[in-house]
């Protein structure tokens, strides 16, 4: 029922490599639906963010309704429903990092990138106009001993100082 209500602009399909990975995934679980999170991760890696077309495609692949996919996508903070920059910078701001001045890290990044911090429902707010960076605050990244930390896409950067941050950003 909900399928017809979704406006599909450009259809989505896995590329060959991701299709292979998806085929391997699906065999791991007794029900297809269980492959939801890894499949969405795959799709997001390919499409950049979860578009309605992605949701529809994933729903077809897993034989569930689109609504169920949407349900999951909205629950987990790691899935984006809006375009994000090429580099997503996640700044941890939970207590152990806060005790080691994560606010300074965030302020430094804000001035350096000349952008605001993304809100959960407004990622554009934290994305630079050239679409290169998205700056967001996240909860504990489980690296409290080397605080303050940030994650740039898949890479964790530890014990940050303003100089270190400059070096990381300039090398991207």
């Amino acid at each position: 029922m909900s399928d017809e209500l979704i406006q599909i602009e450009t259809p989505f399909a896995f590329n060959e490599e991701n299709q292979r990975e998806f085929d391997a995934l699906i065999g791991r679980y007794p029900v297809k639906e269980a492959a939801m999170l890894p499949t969405l991760h795959l799709a997001q890696r390919q499409a950049g963010y979860i578009t309605p077309a992605v949701m529809k495609y994933v729903a077809e692949q897993l034989e569930v309704s689109v609504m169920k996919v949407k349900d999951v996508v909205t629950f987990y903070p790691m899935f984006f429903e809006e375009p994000v920059g090429e580099y997503v910078i996640r700044v941890c701001h939970t207590l152990p990092c806060a005790l080691r001045d994560c606010k300074g890290v965030l302020d430094h990044l804000k001035t350096k990138l000349d952008t605001d911090v993304a809100a959960e429902t407004n990622l554009a707010k934290g994305t630079t106009p050239d679409g290169k960076f998205t700056l967001m605050k996240v909860e504990c990244l489980a690296s409290c001993d080397v605080a303050p930390v940030i994650m740039v896409n898949d890479d964790l950067h530890k014990n940050l100082t303003p100089e270190k941050i400059d070096e990381i950003i300039d090398n991207l």
């Binding site: 999951v72 939970t94 207590l95 504990c140 409290c144 605080a147 964790l156």
Partner: protein
């Protein structure tokens, strides 16, 4: 000074320990081989029960007891390894996954053999990209070497391990939330019972264990129960008559962060005191300890009066706190407790899964109250009220004194206690997230009330000296109620 005893972390820094060949040089997989050649599955389960191993994920529930609840006649049975390490202050599992993933695989193999399990899912939090990569590589190697897959080492055992990435939700670390998430749904916890041991993932019996718990298994099997139980204290559980032994055996990966000189993971026998741990971690950074969070951000805070508390499951429970996942956060005299509580409450308001009303609405409400106090807009009544307490006749009643009414502090305690009541230990929510919110909120307020009052009175955050900020022990109900357990051998 207490010495580190590295068992799980012994070979962590050996170069290339993440590869099969190097792991093999350091007794890798010999414990699993010993298990399958020398013991029957039931023997292993009995060894784990006798070892007194308690789950390291947070609840501290006896692993052997958990295994005994699993019906043996329903197949398939699943093992879910909980690597969704998201409790603020905890970071020990990350190092196991990134540096020594084969140790986890060996632990999983032993658990699977003991329980007759053929499929294991390792639920890794989405942010652990490196950890997942290393574990995936190790699993691939183990398949190639014949330690995973069909007919392992010619014994007829079939064991598969799959990694499953999470996607950034804290609540998926709760075992039933993890199961829901593994099934491809929102990670909203289930009502218990039925417990996962009876009806878990895909409706089948499921054992959910933390990474650290599973990593203990090779050493219990390899070195024997007697060796294992020598580490850590065994207390007397006086609720039973005659008292029964309450083991807190083994080592714990204590994660210490915040204001210490050398934050990091220290593997020590259970049962050392808070001040000893701070000393091990290079001492305090600052002049004096203001507060210590003993078990991840959900644990009730300890004041500087309580630094002699032993950091083990039983002692901390009896001190009205918990060891949880062993994430210790130290705060020095420059820290403002209201500010710290605000940070933690923002975390919980963000991470509430939204399933139960008290938690969905209560957590943002608590956050807003603390925010208001921190902003200097905390509400205080102009009126006073009679102060209740221990009166002259020694009974609870009107003390004859009056006290000022801080409306927001009353409200804060009331809202938090209505998510979960910390005095009766009853929660109005499906999972224990409720108590994880109320515990810090109420304990920070009760133990550091002067700092909250000062913030309301002055209209801004005021950091008081440690002695003034802390409620003295004689006025601290939780401190009065604490109980120091006796060792079983002393009885």
């Amino acid at each position: 000074m207490v010495e580190e005893r590295r068992i799980l972390y012994e070979h962590l820094d050996v170069p290339d320990i993440n590869t099969f060949d190097v792991f093999r040089q350091y007794d890798g997989y010999t414990r699993f081989e010993k298990a399958i050649t020398e013991y029957q599955p039931d023997d292993i389960a009995k060894m784990v029960m006798d070892s007194g191993l308690k789950g390291r994920g947070g609840a501290g529930f006896s692993t052997g007891l958990k295994w005994s609840f699993v019906p043996r006649d329903i197949k398939p049975c699943y093992l879910c390894c909980n690597a969704d390490e998201s409790e603020p202050g905890t970071f020990s599992n990350r190092y196991v996954l990134e540096k020594n993933p084969h140790l986890l695989i060996e632990g999983i193999l032993i658990c699977c053999y003991a329980m007759g399990i053929e499929t294991t899912y390792v639920y890794i939090r989405g942010e652990f990209t490196l950890g997942k990569k290393m574990l995936d590589a190790a699993i691939k190697e183990a398949y190639e070497k014949g330690y995973l897959g069909k007919d392992i080492r010619g014994t007829g055992l079939n064991i598969d391990i799959y990694t499953h990435p999470g996607a950034g939700a804290y609540i998926c670390g709760e075992e039933t939330g993890l199961i829901e998430s593994l099934e491809g749904k929102r990670g909203q916890p289930r009502n218990k019972p039925p417990f996962p041991a009876v009806e878990g993932v895909f409706g089948k019996p499921t054992v959910v264990q933390n990474v650290e718990t599973l990593c203990n298994l090779p050493f219990i099997v390899g070195n024997g129960v007697e060796w294992y139980t020598q580490m850590g204290p065994t207390y007397a559980d006086t609720r039973a008559n005659p008292p029964t032994p309450d083991p807190n055996t083994g080592t714990k990966l204590y994660c210490i962060s915040g204001d210490v000189n050398e934050p990091g993971v220290y593997e020590l026998d259970l049962g050392l005191t808070c001040s000893e741990l701070i000393e091990v971690a290079g001492g305090l950074r600052g002049e004096e300890v203001k507060a210590v969070i003993p078990g991840g951000s959900s644990a009730p805070i300890l004041t500087h009066y309580e630094l002699d508390t032993r950091l083990d499951f039983t002692s901390l429970t009896l001190a009205k706190s918990m060891l949880g996942s062993g994430g210790i956060i130290v705060m020095n005299e420059t820290r403002n407790i209201v500010d710290c509580l605000l940070n933690i409450m923002k975390f919980y308001a963000h991470e509430s899964c939204g399933q139960c009303t008290p938690c969905r609405w209560g957590t943002p409400w608590v956050r807003d109250i603390v925010q208001r106090i921190a902003d200097g807009d905390g509400r205080k009544s102009t009126m006073t009220r009679p102060k209740f307490g221990v009166a002259e006749n020694g009974r609870w009643g009107d003390t004859g004194e009056t006290e000022e009414i801080y409306e927001d502090l009353d409200l804060l305690e009331s809202v938090a206690n209505n998510i979960a009541n910390v005095d009766t230990m009853t929660w109005n929510t499906i999972c224990v997230f409720g108590i994880a919110v109320s515990w810090p909120a109420v304990s920070y307020l009760r133990k550091f009330r002067p700092e909250f009052e000062a913030a309301i009175r002055e209209g801004k955050l005021v950091t008081l000296p440690v002695a003034e900020a802390t409620v003295p022990p004689e006025e601290n109900y939780a401190y009065q109620q604490r109980f120091i357990p006796k060792e079983f051998a002393d009885l």
